[in-house]
Symmetry: none
Subunit: 195 residues, 4 copies
DNA sequence: CAATAAACGAGACGGTACGTCGAGTCTTGCT
DNA sequence: AGCAAGACTCGACGTACCGTCTCGTTTATTG
């Protein structure tokens, strides 16, 4: 029995074009924000025909979604795991707050939110982890395992509350003060911390 | 008290036009979402010249912000005050979740978020109260007064966590189950409830 | 009774834009031919938005038709009237043949024909007079009046035969020799000349 | 006679493809006209790759030219030869006018003219015989031989005048009345008929 | 009560970008 | 080598809205 994979005919998708498009998208997204992101500029910067974009992505938001997935939009804010959940979450939140304090960072996050309003994938990803690789809920589950959080803690809700609060601050252009990360984590972890 | 306002000459702003514009904006916003909202359609539906809109509002988002302020976009989700904070918050959250369960409601909320990404006022308003009249933080303060929440509770953070979680669910198109409101409120109120 | 002409409201059509568009059309038509004539180039050269063209003309061919009407496309080949029909027609045909002998002239005429295949107005105008101001049939009628052509001559047919033959030569890229104009006029005038 | 042709290596041109392409071209030409004729549609309808078309024909117009040559575009309007030139020409012209009276026929002829503006071969063929098999000039020469037309008649010019007039009518969308064929032939034959 | 001036409706204007179509070329694997 | 499939770049299409700008009309205030 030979390998009979019935390869389809015709030229194959150009990886170079794919990468150039995603790179251009990420670059322009960061430079000008989601709303000012134009398919024509992407095509121009990528040195690609517009049609090549539309052949593979149905919309601007899908393009951005794939960039997000490939980690081209956000620096990796990997949630650390030092063994101390609370400290880890504070550190993580703080790193995000540091980004938000910069006008460019805040508007990048707001752009991501704008993209999420148009694209379910982006929305889902934001929901899970603020768009980064790691999932907050996952880290919390580990903490339960390690006995740091009470059994039966509402991990999903805690994660949503934390991430949601962060996004809400970006949306509301709320200035961020020192200690805010700690206060926020403190609040959402509230009753869940094992004593 | 003398007539003191030295009115300038010329016709005065037409209240009819103002109302027609806001109404048209609200209607089209609900019907087609923020992104598909066109100034030209608003003008057409309001029976008004585009210039009349631009004379009084600098942008689409400002227009939407004023609609929000006038309560034309959201049904009033007044946060109740029965004396029991937790029950009140659950009821309120539940009402929002009921809206989110309808596709039209979810997309309305997402449209609001989209508008907020462009307009600080809308963002602020969403931050304070999900766009409704009442402020969550205010209600929490009353609860502290009444001894239902511990002194020193992080009211701001609780409110942000609750509202943020709700918006995040809308963004992520997360299906909402019965009991979710209670679980969420339970989580964010966590350690703040007086025992 | 006052003049009550109910002027429509709103800004008035810009004559400057109209002229710039027609000029640009004529120029590009002559430079590149009908098929290579692009609405975008016209708009660019005229310093006008594409929409301004589409507001007033439904198609490229309509635009060219108006150019033709305004005499911007063809030098005026006014059919002379010296009293001698035959000589006049020969002179006129010869002038056209002179144009056709130049490659640029021939391709201009072919472009006109191409435009005529898309636009009835242009076709009609070509039929009547090869696109120029004067009508051949009209001149023939004068000649009948003057007794130079037999009464009852088929003027319409003579004109069609003459103009048609000229266009057909352009279409067939038939090289034109000296004396061709005379031979052709001789033929089409055939039996019509009074003796 | 030995086999002498040293055939080059590799597959030989596919006659099936050639025929399918010409058939598809003819069909689509008649259905949608020259301007709306798309190479992609031809390839699709013929079940052929675009490259196969470009391998053998340099352009759309060349493709159409070959269709014309193969008699796939026009019904054969063979110029009859009953011995009476005038009657023959009238019959022939009348057949063409019958075609022109149908909107589809008129637009087919106009499409042919459009093709001729882009392609010298088509133009030449139209010049000679309106695209059909037989040449008008040839038939006239026979008539001279038979003593029906004067010696020294300008056969070329007569043919041009007749065919040109017909095409001009198609271009000008001139409605055709009964008797027009006779009147036209009468005119162009004018002084050439032997008495 | 004229003169003045702002607001208004209508709508034309220069722009930017859209998403689509088709052209002609190139690549891949099969025949 | 020819072929079907199909991806590629390029250029233009015709449309949608943007925000600005005349127009001529209406409405209020002021001299």
């Amino acid at each position: 029995m030979t390998h009979m994979s019935q390869r389809r005919r015709g030229a194959v998708r150009s990886e170079a074009a794919r990468v150039a498009i995603l790179r251009a998208t990420a670059h322009l997204f960061q430079a000008s924000g989601y709303d000012n992101l134009a398919m024509e500029s992407i095509a121009a910067e990528a040195g690609v025909a517009k049609q090549t974009i539309y052949r593979w992505w149905p919309s601007k938001s899908a393009l951005v979604a794939e960039c997000l997935l490939e980690g081209l939009l956000m620096p990796d804010l990997g949630l650390p795991d030092t063994g101390d959940v609370k400290a880890d979450l504070i550190a993580w939140t703080d790193r995000i707050f540091t980004i938000l304090r910069e006008p460019s960072g805040e508007s990048l996050v707001r752009s991501l939110i704008a993209a999420a309003t148009e694209n379910a994938d982006i929305g889902r990803r934001l929901h899970d982890s603020l768009g980064t690789e790691s999932s907050v809920t996952g880290r919390l589950a580990d903490a339960v395992e390690a006995g740091q959080l009470r059994d039966g803690s509402r991990l999903q809700e805690i994660a949503e509350a934390l991430v949601g609060a962060v996004l809400l601050r970006a949306l509301g252009r709320i200035p961020i003060a020192a200690g805010d990360a700690e206060r926020l984590v403190d609040t959402v972890l509230g009753g869940a911390l094992a004593r």
